[in-house]
Symmetry: C2
Subunit: 321 residues, 2 copies
């Protein structure tokens, strides 16, 4: 992995940085930012961390999470050079209205944007955390436990704890080094996967109870009434869409969440070569090949039907059987 | 990890082996046996593989699984030296009535048994697959793709794909080597976790719907009627007990499965220091600290109550709150 020499000089020369990451942040965003911040601070630099949405409660086990601010209030912050992490446009970080004098972008997502004075984009990296791992080594900073825990969580979440196709020998070698430096796989996994509230679990049980299968497409949903009954929150539905994937013959899993009366937010997941981003785009949504989403208005029955029709027209899911 | 020199000489000297593993086998048993068999065959040896229960359908993606026999019919098989894998007593392999002229035991489970002419027991190894990895290296055999896939599956299952506390830097280093040798983490994970039948998934949904929580104890159950309704099989309930663990405040998860009218098979899982083997022993069952089980007769309501009483008397789960 080749780090742009400009980027190294930038981190060595500047004394203070504004590190910002994407809205609705997850551990690759948060952990990468916290690890980079800790590394820069150990070099005597100052950092300010920003995320528009703050750190969700689930992820407050990450050491240093309190550093994150969710507002850019002081004009001084705007004078700092910007480091955009795990995203590559100011819009994705919710800071499109601000002007920065200088900016660096570090991201592993494919992009057509050209934002940034220095850009380091590595779509082949399993996580931004992997890029930060190499960057920190290159800067000559020792892997502390704080850095290791944050990077381990970043890599764990983006590889589905070593289950997705981006899990390479390199990823395992880096995980080994992070464990040696103090990351505890069991404690981090417990924090990532076993901290559900009872409300969230009850909502999952209800959602799974709504399963409808049509050929290789599984659909589940959560209505406002179900939120009311369980007293769970919209955030609690994170990852619900993945459960029907357990079934061998499910190739696409769709999750419908009621936002307001007849307003639905839909998450799609697919296996292998089936592209759900194409489907989401038909409904003015977006995403990646295997994970995408969109919003739609209508009666649940009708919008489900619309989605199933789009899937049968725009994928070869029928022919695959 | 120190391999007994006698064991190395044994594998070098003998020409044919009967490799047997435990009843109700899972990928650490099956994968370790298949990897050892492939390694010995590449040295020009012959192997016969035995498991009383055969290879469950779920695990028939493991290369070479057809080698397994589920009967010891020919008297010739009894003349072979026995290699007992991932268990340490003939009883655990269902072969306690047979006599073998010579036997070697390779296992990572704690034991008080002394069975075996050569014994290699490593309770600190995360999986028997880790021990076989070192053994194969010591025997000078190249890691083929067949060996790597089998050992990767063994390690993956016994570490909960790198989520349990036995996941060390060493485990990650070995995983990296197995991936380099041809193991595909995504394909193996998909085979391990995403091959549920629709019947099994529907039964899970029903089981989760029975959730009862009493302080930090979660209880779910499956009745014969639920099996009938979903047309799922008893084997399909494997791992159901783990789902309630997702809840942060659940310290013990119990799963009741109806075998015959009012005959229940109970699986227990605990987090951290809570010992469910102690509880299982009170009901004449057994197991490990965090995973145990027992059988009981009675009305569901009564047996649930008995279990909850035993838990409150024999663990400090109430005081922990």
């Amino acid at each position: 992995m080749k780090i742009p020499p400009d980027l190294i000089s930038f981190f060595k020369k500047e004394k203070e940085f504004l590190i910002a990451t994407h809205i609705n942040p997850e551990p690759d965003a948060i952990g990468s930012a916290l690890a980079l911040s800790a590394a820069l601070e150990s070099m005597g630099k100052k950092t300010v961390l920003y995320d528009r949405d703050g750190v969700p409660e689930f992820y407050r086990f990450l050491p240093g999470y309190k550093k994150f601010k969710n507002s850019i209030s002081s004009p001084n912050m705007l004078r700092l050079p910007l480091v955009l992490l795990d995203c590559n446009t100011p819009k994705r970080a919710g800071i499109e209205r601000l002007n920065f004098k200088y900016s660096a972008v570090i991201d592993h997502h494919e992009t057509e944007s050209t934002f940034g004075d220095i850009r380091w984009i590595e779509p082949r990296a399993a996580a931004t955390g992997i890029m930060i791992f190499y960057l920190i080594k290159k800067l000559g900073v020792k892997l502390t436990e704080e850095i290791a825990v944050n990077l381990y969580a970043a890599v764990a979440i983006d590889t589905g704890t070593f289950r997705y196709s981006n899990t390479t020998a390199e990823v395992f070698n880096i995980a080994a080094q992070l464990v040696k430096a103090g990351a505890n796989p069991a404690v981090i996994s417990q924090n990532l996967y076993e901290t559900w509230s009872e409300q969230r679990f009850l909502l999952l049980c209800m959602a799974l109870g709504t399963l409808e299968k049509s050929d290789s497409v599984a659909v589940i949903h959560v209505t406002k009434e179900m939120f009311d009954k369980t007293r769970a929150k919209p955030d609690d539905t994170e990852n619900f869409v993945s459960f029907p994937r357990m079934m061998k013959d499910v190739k696409i899993s769709a999750f419908f969440r009621e936002e307001n009366d007849n307003n639905w937010k839909i998450s799609l997941r697919s296996k292998g070569d089936i592209n759900v981003a194409t489907i989401a785009k038909l409904f003015k949504g977006g995403g990646h090949k295997n994970a995408a989403g969109f919003e739609i208005k209508g009666r649940l029955k009708d919008v489900k039907k619309e989605l199933l029709q789009a899937i049968s027209q725009h994928t070869n899911i029928q022919k695959e059987k």
